[in-house]
């Protein structure tokens, strides 16, 4: 059972505390989360330095950034200290519990006291200066420790509250205290479940804390060596995620067989499974849109919408990662595919495999298209802006094709090189999404954006040909690493 | 004869087929296996001890070549009907390896020969029918 990805930490900066902090995730993960934290704080600092000095909105803005920064670093990194605690108590390792406690204390100090002091010194009122970091920490902990449905609900809560604010009596301080108390109790209960569980991997998926959904951490997928280690059984229980089923697959339908085995939970879905998946997505969207606001929506709901859209756009990347990971799992489906008779000659099997990947990518881009159309409708965009979004979809599709082709040809998707290659896409997409969310009119920039997305799409598409051809040259389509 | 009468030790330096032939020879020489008695089938022995049937087969074939066993239709491998029991020299040959091992152990442990002989005599007296 891998609850924690441990990569032999050396004695940390502050002895055991540092070691505990280092042990709970991979170094790459720590760097990523750390960078996100610093960027958010940096943005806050910029706002403070150069933003309008109207006291209240400025205070709120600064508080917001501190809140989100704390949320991200606690959800992404420090909450995993609890995983370490659980693993250490299971192993009866003597000093580990103390090390974890000290690490938590140290983390709280740095992320609570320091920002609060800075905010206070800049003139932010104490309620915000202290409240924002505390809320961030609490939120981050809760998010990673609660099961996924509850975690999502948590994100939506502020939006909902704001929406219903006109119908409820005005917010008294004791309301806030009561809400905080409930939050703390929920937190305690979830932590208790986490620490008591003998085998966190065995908790049913819907009740499993978010940070355990991929027991060794989602970022582990991007680390080549750890990717080869088999997961604790992270099953996606039937109804939420449609898994490919072998009903019609067989030697008479080799294409279906390959579809079924390739890329596991991200594999190509047959008709029934696709309907199930669409059904669930529509249900989720309907639930999210409590009140169908067209044009004017509160901040949190916007954030959620963006999150969904970005997630859908990134699904191509996830598919590529998944394919690469499958290649590294030495006892997985690929060795089955390599030795299964009835899939045709190696050349034929290769063609079928590549077609399967393309079809799955197509399915994913369709989902992304639906998401973008939803975004366009909810924000009430003009046609020119919708066209811009479609351009982004095309570019993303081409880039995803490049990543999948790399994965299928034996290359590394999770590398610095790939990240640099994707940088233009990330920049252009961020710009496009900002335009879409804030509904900036396109007037003069339309042509420029068309050029940008056309070039990106063509460039990524052409670049994808190189690994695609390389994949054809391989000895057979299902080679392991 | 029951297949469990044979004791197989995979870890021993002696190859398995020789362990089997040695044990069968001793059983015949000692009279536990009489002429005309059927041996368990290759499959039985292999199945019980989880060993390769070819090992058992090899052992049986070797004993058949030596004339100790005969293959009969319907009965399988059977102890051959010998006119005389194996001669004294042959029987000593079966015991010699054990004597060698005993002597070696005693030397290594520096045990006096007289005491060893006494203890051996006691045991022989106990085992007399």
């Amino acid at each position: 059972m891998n609850a924690v990805a441990v990569s032999a930490p050396a004695r940390g900066l502050f002895g055991d505390t540092g070691a505990a902090l280092a042990a709970c995730t991979l170094r790459r993960h720590r760097w990523l989360v750390g960078i996100v934290y610093c960027v958010l704080l940096g943005l806050g600092a910029l706002l403070g330095a150069f933003g309008p000095t109207g006291s209240e909105s400025r205070a709120d803005g600064l508080g917001f950034f501190v809140l989100v920064a704390n949320f991200s670093i606690w959800a992404g990194w420090f909450a995993r200290l609890l995983l370490l605690q659980s693993a250490a108590s299971g192993l009866r390792a003597p000093g580990a519990a103390t090390a974890v406690r000290w690490a938590l204390l140290w983390a709280a100090l740095v992320t609570l006291v320091v920002p609060a002091t800075v905010l206070l010194s800049v003139g932010v009122p104490p309620s915000v200066a202290w409240g924002a970091p505390v809320l961030g920490v609490l939120g981050g902990l809760l998010f990673s420790v609660m099961p996924p449905p509850a975690a999502i609900a948590l994100l939506v809560l502020p939006g909902l509250a704001q929406m219903f604010s006109s119908h409820l009596p005005p917010m008294q301080p004791w309301h806030l205290v009561a809400a905080a108390a409930v939050g703390v109790m929920v937190l305690a209960a979830c932590i208790r479940t986490l620490l008591r569980a003998q085998d966190p991997g065995a908790i049913p998926a819907w009740r499993r804390p978010l940070m355990l959904q991929a027991p060794a951490g989602m970022v582990v997928w991007t680390d080549p060596k750890s990717a080869a280690v088999p997961d604790a059984p992270a099953i996606h229980d039937g109804w939420m995620v449609a898994m490919p089923r072998p009903d019609h697959a067989g030697p008479h339908a080799p294409r279906a067989a390959i579809d079924m085995l390739l890329a596991g939970p991200m594999g190509y879905l047959g008709r029934r499974a696709t309907w199930k998946q669409w059904g669930f997505l529509i249900l989720a969207v309907a639930v999210l849109m409590v009140i169908p606001f067209r044009g004017d929506t509160p901040l949190i709901r916007n954030a959620l919408l963006i999150g969904v859209v970005v997630g859908l756009l990134a699904s191509g990347w996830t598919l590529a990662l998944r394919l690469e990971r499958q290649r590294r799992r030495l006892s997985g489906e690929l060795s089955e595919l390599a030795l299964l008779p009835g899939l045709g000659t190696p050349a034929q099997a290769g063609v079928r495999m590549r077609h399967s990947v393309m079809r799955r990518l197509g399915q994913l881009m369709l989902f992304a298209l639906a998401g973008l159309l939803l975004l366009a409708w909810m924000r009430g965009l003009e046609w020119s802006q919708v066209a811009l979004l479609l351009g982004m979809l095309a570019g993303t599709g081409a880039a995803s094709l490049l990543m999948c082709a790399t994965a299928v040809s034996g290359g590394t998707v999770a590398s610095l090189r790939m990240f640099l290659l994707m940088l233009p896409l990330l920049i252009a997409a961020t710009g496009t999404l900002i335009i879409a969310m804030i509904r900036i009119p396109l007037d003069g920039q339309g042509l420029a954006w068309t050029v940008v997305w056309t070039i990106l799409t063509a460039a990524y598409g052409a670049a994808a040909l190189v690994p695609w051809r390389r994949s054809r040259d391989r000895a057979h389509a299902f080679l392991l690493d | 004869m029951d297949a469990s009468l044979l004791s197989i030790q995979p870890n021993a330096p002696e190859p398995l087929y020789r362990q089997i032939t040695g044990q069968i020879r001793r059983l015949v020489a000692g009279g536990q296996l009489r002429a005309g008695q059927a041996l368990p089938s290759v499959r039985e022995v292999a199945g019980l001890h989880a060993i390769n049937p070819m090992t058992v087969s090899r052992a049986y074939s070797q004993l058949e070549a030596e004339g100790l066993l005969v293959r009969l239709r319907g009965k399988g491998m059977v102890v051959a009907d010998l006119a005389t029991p194996p001669d004294l020299a042959a029987r000593w040959a079966l015991v010699d390896p054990a004597l060698d091992a005993l002597a070696r152990h005693a030397r290594e442990l520096e045990l006096p020969a007289d005491a060893l002989l006494d203890r051996l005599k006691t045991r022989l007296k106990e085992d007399l029918p």
Binding site: G332 | L16, R43
Partner: protein, 306 residues
Amino acid sequence: MNAMLDVSDSAPLLSPPAAPLAADGLIKQYDHDSVLKGVSLTVEPGTVLGLIGRNGAGKSTLIRAMLGLIEPDAGTATVWGEPALRMGDAAKQRLGYVPQQPEAMAWLQVGEMLDFIGRFYPRWNAAYVDATLERWQLPRNRLLAKLSPGERQRVAIIRALASQPELLVLDEPASALDPVGRRELLREIASRAGDSGTTVLFSTHIVSDLERVASHVAFLHAGRLLLHSELDSLKERNLRLHVPEAVAAQLRDDVPGEVSRRPHPYGGLSITVLRGEDAPWPDLVQVPGVRAEALPLEDLFIEVSA
């Protein structure tokens, strides 16, 4: 060495039957880590070859390379004469493979997976599947991911055996099994080898399993094949000689067939000798005062890898 014969169905009488598995000079490196350093190995039909070696010696990598699952940096691997990397359907139908720690198709149920796989093999024995699932008490309706590692390994074994293969390749098949399960697996392997003439290659680090069922043994150490011979012959060809001081002092060169020598705790030398197939014992054996004993295989392997 076994040349790569072009075996086609149209000329079975002219060319001698190709060995089920053959490897020649396999070299494989992972990130500056040399896992296979030129391994050549042939598995003759009808034999049970036990591949033994420490964890990390390269056993699994060797097996994967021989089956064409990974591409070696150098060297060739053939299955029934065809290159392993381009195995045809005919060969795949006669091959059964049990990987180490199997985890394929974990989202399917046991029954679903076996039914699905069974469609691809013409000689699939569904009755055997049902009987064995029941005998080993494996639930048909359980998700593979929810099984314990031992149960998953059993399912993988059933999957490989149900197609009645002529060539069976198992990578540490007993690693997750309890002693009873191991014994049963060995029995199954032994009976198939004996009755149907199935060729078996299995890797293990448990020497006693090997000594029960294997007819041949290959010892892999640090990416090199140090021993490859018939099992019984190996047992009969090794001796550990205890050479007393006086005699040891007169030894100049290595004894022919010497594998290792070390000082004996009671004085003198302890020399392990492995003579060639038809070679005579070295003269040292006859020297008075020199005592000899045959080694159990495990000890022999330790001496060879020193």
